[in-house]
């Protein structure tokens, strides 16, 4: 804060601002402009200033379904990712092992693998003849393969996994207020380990949880590769729909309008979340 008040320091932000202006802000304006164009019956785009595309989008009840699908999928995957990443991150944050950096690299290692490759990995694991089903069949737990891909289950599993490294990083970044001495104090005052967790560790890691959940929810909402490939054409969310309209139907104004709609949705969500956390922190 005090850095910003020193006028000279603002220059430090200039390079990043310039890059963002050219690579992000300008294209976003282009996209927004495109959403007001008209689509001709043949599929060609005619420059215009019309709200027809938005009207069409609002009239189509399928878009509401897509929105709910997106929110539900993102909510579930983010929550699972949080539950899975929390213990790992807590361990990584606390361990005094000399392998700590190595373990942290392993935890965020999936980021080094291309998202498409990871999805194909999941297909190999979850497919009808994949690792999981072979094991279940061999153990005689099921008589025929369980459908684990090309449906919501598969997409949820894949998306959860793809969020994990981000969740670990966000939690590690947010754990700043956790203090071993404070937990020791709670224990010396008579708190058993689980009460220390509920009364001290968990409340103090709330900022980390909020941060991780928010970042991953946004990532999940805009995730495209996993729902597209692991959904096998049966899973429809906003992100896949934008792709469909832009590439398959070649209705660019509609794809642009859907993108703007997603952006507004996420901004609304961020605002609500911000208001909520401010209230919680008080």
């Amino acid at each position: 804060m005090s850095l910003l008040r020193r006028p000279g320091m603002l220059w430090l932000a200039l390079p990043a601002t310039a890059v963002l202006l050219f690579t992000y802000v300008a294209p976003m304006f282009g996209l927004a402009r495109m959403s007001f164009n008209r689509t001709l019956p043949g599929g060609a785009m005619q420059p215009d200033w019309t709200l027809a595309t938005y009207a069409e989008m609002a009239a189509d009840s399928f878009n509401l379904e897509l929105t709910l699908n997106s929110i539900q999928l993102s909510f579930t995957a983010t929550t699972f990712a949080l539950l899975l990443a929390y213990p790992v991150s807590l361990f990584l944050f606390r361990t005094e092992s000399r392998f700590r950096s190595l373990l942290a690299i392993i935890a965020i290692g999936p980021l080094l693998v291309n998202g498409v490759v990871r999805v194909f990995g999941w297909i190999a694991v979850l497919g009808d003849r994949g690792l999981v089903n072979s094991a279940l069949l061999a153990l005689g737990l099921v008589s025929e393969p369980v459908r684990l891909i090309y449906n919501w289950t598969g997409v949820t599993i894949g998306l959860t996994e793809s969020l994990l490294p981000y969740m670990v990083l966000a939690l590690l970044a947010g754990f700043g207020r956790l203090d071993r001495e404070v937990e020791a104090a709670a224990m010396s005052l008579g708190a058993r380990p689980w009460r220390v967790f509920v009364r001290v560790t968990l409340p103090l890691s709330l900022p980390a949880i909020v941060l991780g959940w928010l970042i991953c929810f946004i990532l999940a909402m805009s995730a495209f590769v996993t729902p597209k490939l692991l959904g096998g054409g049966r899973v429809f969310v906003l992100a896949t729909q934008v792709f469909e309209e832009a590439v398959d139907t070649v209705n660019w104004p509609l794809a642009a309008a859907l993108s703007v709609y997603m952006l507004v949705l996420l901004l609304l969500f961020l605002g609500a979340y911000g208001a909520l956390t401010r209230r919680v922190e008080r």
């Binding site: 224990m187 010396s188 005052l189 008579g190 103090l204």
Partner: protein
Amino acid sequence: MSHVRLDALSKVYGSNAPAVDDLTLTVERGEFLALLGPSGCGKTTTLRMIAGLVPPTGGTITVGGADVTSLPPYRRNMGLVFQNYALFPHMSVADNIAFGLEMRNLPRSEQTSRIAEALAMVRLEGYEKRRPRELSGGQQQRVALARALVIRPDVLLLDECLSNLDAKLREQMRIEIREIQRRLGITAIFVTHDQVEALTMCDRVALMDRGRLAQVGTPEDVYERPANRFVANFVGRINVMRGEANGASLAVAGAPVAVANAPRTQGTVDVMVRPHRMTIRPEDVAAAAGENRVSGTIGRIVYIGDVIQVAVDTPAGPLVAERTTTGPDWHTLAVGQRVAVAWSAADTLVFPPEAR
């Protein structure tokens, strides 16, 4: 009967030298004991073992006759005050103090009255709703003390808890903590590296050196009758001279030196005298009977306020004598002046030289 008893307590981390080595120590009921030593001497590890936060690798800890060595911290009923206070940042002052009472499932009404009592004790009435970050260091310190005492612990454990305060406040808290401890009659163990804190606050001082007990005694014991070179050096300032012992006689720089308790060693020894027990005298005035003296030139005079430190270069090495600035005559001393440094036989300490 002793209240807290440490028996052959040890802590070894991996293959390192022991952090605490075969420590045997007792604390009487209602006694205020200081664990004093330089950093890394094992005093904090010892305190944490008593609290149950560090498992010992050997020995036993008994409180009130019961062996607590293997009890987890939450079943020991000890009040612990940490160096950084370790208050719960997400709770108000009242909730911080209530925490231990809640863990004990005390009824609400009793909790309320005990919190009020504890806040009054540390003179923080009206601060119930504040968050720790809205308090000054001294106030946080008081909350930590109230939180530890409100559970009516068997033993109060204080870990370097004054070292984050400024000098003035530290002095005030010393008196305050001692007052509260006396009023409650609680057994307390105070870890510190500050010898002034240990001497001024505590009934007895246990000095630790490299994991071992160097000496236990009253403040006067450890100051006036240090058991070894380490204690003499660590508690208070001291001059060290190289001496030669030969049976009952002792010589420094070739001149005989009178000692109250004659050393029983032969050969080279360290002769130690505290600066404020050395006096500066005119060189030409004859020595009083039984007085040790050595002549030299004043090399440096440091004005501290209540005292001046006079460094004198002598054949026995550089010696520092302190004299109070009471009266005007201290002004007569000047750098380069020839003087005699004198001290009594009773103030002369003799130890075998350091092994290192």
